[in-house]
């Protein structure tokens, strides 16, 4: 299972993680997200800089 980290940029604040992932060409159906070791939904939005861990559970 491939894992990597992504950092949200200012222009992405207020957008759902689903939309952010799609704009970064990451398929939201193939991954699970973690923030500070806690699983988070892709419907979530942020208004601050955060680092997220992407777990590729379906091979791309």
């Amino acid at each position: 299972m491939n894992t990597y980290k992504i950092k949200l940029k200012e222009k992405e604040f207020g957008k759902t993680l689903r939309d952010i992932l799609i704009s970064r060409k990451i398929n939201p159906e193939y991954i699970i997200l973690k923030e500070k070791n806690k699983f988070i939904p892709i419907s979530k939005t942020y208004k601050k800089e955060v680092e997220l861990e992407v777990l590729e559970v379906i091979k791309m």
Binding site: M1, E29, I32, F39, I40, P41, S43, L55
Partner: protein
Amino acid sequence: MVKCEKCKKEALIYLAYGKHNFCKDHFNEFFEKRFKKNIRQHNIFNNKDYIGIATSGGKDSMVLLYLFNKIFKPKRYKFCAIFVNEGTHNYSDKTEKLVTDFCKKLDTKLIKSSHKDELGVSTQEVSVNYNKKEGSICTYCGVMRRKVLNILANKENITKIATGHNLDDECQTVLMNLLDNDAIRFFRTGPVTGIIDLKETKPRIKPFYLTPEKEIAAYALYNDIPFYKEDCPFYKAAKRNHFREFINETEVMHPGSKFSLIKSFLKIKDLCDIKKITNKINKPLNKCEICGSETSGKICKSCQLLKDMKI
């Protein structure tokens, strides 16, 4: 915030095919309910069976072992884990340790052996000089592993072998067999494999037959079930990878396609006179001239592959 459809908590996962939003607890409930329903609906096993759970250390088989312990141990069903060490460098020993530790934690009986011990040759050794015309190294490894699982099941008087094959695996298999024009393999697959009753070849059962791969991964991660996260070093050789990509892309465009494919397959299987289509299976089975196992030819597939390699 998107809420769980069953409670007011924040939803953690969205399942596009059913437009379901679930929190962790209700996802677990949904997941386990479908697992039990699949076993019941397809009459996969009952309390008279002794189930050997083929445990590779990957997410599917580790979740399967966990669920057997959670659901069927309290009901006193008889089961154990089976691990087959393929002898793949920098891989098999790590998965063996993971499975051994998990079985200890769950207090579950574990039966172990290896390709080398049972067949005299490891997958790593086969990978050096196998016949590429027969397929990839995964063809050899799969045939060998199935044979070793069966040898161990017979030694232990196991009645059925449970595997972690999931909805995604089954979609790939159905499409592959269809495009290979292989009627016997096409109809042989299902929640319980096989068309005719065999004495020595134990039926393989698939409790995750209708469970998508992503949900098994999510269940494992949400519930801290350990699993080996690296791919087998030979992973890229597998023919099914092309079909995996095609089916996943279709599912994203048209959610529910994986379920539709498998449900259509089950309907076709139900409507067909399988014995007429696969007339080969009406012939009595022979004993393999080399190892004595059941085979439709003179030599079983495993012995044939190894014989061709002069092993």
